[in-house]
Amino acid sequence: MIEVTDLSKRFGDKVAVDHLSFTVEPGRVTGFLGPNGAGKSTTMRLILGLDHPSGGSATINSRKYAELASPLRTVGALLEAKSVHNGRSARNHLLFLAQTQGIPASRVDEMLDMVGLRDVARKRAGGFSLGMGQRLGVASALLGDPQVLLLDEPVNGLDPEGVLWIRNLMKYLASQGKTVLVSSHLMNEMAVTADHLVVIGRGKLIVSAATEDVIARGSGQTVRVRTPEPGRLTDLIVTEGGKAIPAENGNGGAEAPGGQAPVLTVTGLAAPRIGELAASASIVLHELTPQLATLEDAFLELTSGSLEFGHASAQPAGQSIEENVR
């Protein structure tokens, strides 16, 4: 379990992390979301003891990272920034890390097999592709079979196969009871991977909740309805307290081309209720589709006030130098 308590970090007069508190529970994947510059990487570096906090604390299993007796066996970390010498082979990189913890060299070879780098294990890491570099990063994170994992943007630069591999790996590790914190700016990736989300903006906590709750907090659910009798259905929906708007784009409105029925976007009523209304009035429906608010929508809504380099109109006056210059 990771506990972040009132954590702050200033670089000069710039506040990167601002009184941030959240916990990361074992047994599930926790997504760490925020726009660029929100402080995700800094928070992870603070948890890992690479940066010193200006205030507050971060603990892993109730201990500070620096106090862990055998850190790589407790915590595995994949940082966004590269941490491998270009002239050193993948095997030697893992070997020196293993030696610091008394982990046998056989474990190094196992990890190289697991991430699919066996054939290039003795080649210079400088020649690695981005994806191979990420695989080496995953191998170093899992080297000590840690209970806690922190992964900073792990799917960056990976091909679809690699993305799927990371996704399954994170879910598998969480299912083994491990604590998994994974940062990303890819909302849709988090929607399918994370069970819980910690969303931050400008170094402050915006929300920490289950993924589906975060999605639900976004713009309200809508239902897409296609019917040859939009007028009658709209009246019924309005009497039930809902709202029906002809879809703006495509074949919306009364004059749908190609014989397609027009489309309505309904809010305020759930899909089953719309179906029942239509059936009771014998209105034919060609389509009835609940439109889930995406995590992306929810995320944009949650963070719209806290974009580091957002539009001036979306921010309080005088918040950043860039705007003043403009």
Partner: protein, 284 residues
Amino acid sequence: MSITAASGQLDSAAAQASQPGGAAGFGRLMAAEWTKLRSVRSTVWTLLLFVIITIGLTALLSWLTVSNWTGPRAAPRDARVAADPIGFIFGAGIGLGQLTICVLGVLLITTEYSTGVIRASLLAVPKRYPMLAAKIAVFGLLMLVLSELVAFGSFFVGSAILHSRVVVSLSGPGVLRATLGAGFYLTVLGILALAVGAIVRHTAAGISIVIGIVLVLPILAGLLPSNWGAHINAYLPQQAGSLVYAVHQSSGQLLTAWEGFGVFCIWAVLLLAVATYLLNRRDA
């Protein structure tokens, strides 16, 4: 690469991994630092260059000197070589060879910063200073062995070539001490360079500073007024440290060979203390 295969491997290795002990801990860190050092070509090449330059230059200059002995314009030089053969043998070879050690000492730590390896290193050793201590121990031991080999190699090569003109042996007064001392000097110089590298964290800046300490500082100090300039000069790292591999004391020399070496060591320790303080204090 399947997840099921991964699970079996993870579990088996977890069972194998033993618990860390306190005393064994530092040995492990030294093993890790040794792996880091030997697994990068640049360090291996620099060490090779150190051996070749130091012994090679000693041989070359000794041979040139002997083959041009009492040439028309070389009489004063020949007199100098005859008066202080050890100074001649160690002068050129170590004078140039020591620069490779300056570069290597700086590189050992600054490349960790330039490549980002420092993050991996500090995640593995979050108390930080044991990592630096292990690095110094490994590099220091390696330098001690290699420097003594190079120092004795230089002596035997140089004295063998000079033998027809000047006879110098290890049993001569101060010769064994100077030869051992040359190795000690180079070892401590490497550690001093590593400390500077750890303080500045940038390769170019680190190398510039160390070379400045070794080559430029003595020249600048030589420009100071002689009465008090001599005192400053005597306690500068390179000036003090080089006394330990000299046999002949210059007139007005303020420190003995071992006192000079002690001053040199104090410089290295002070810089290491600063480096350790900054390493623990700064964000990595």
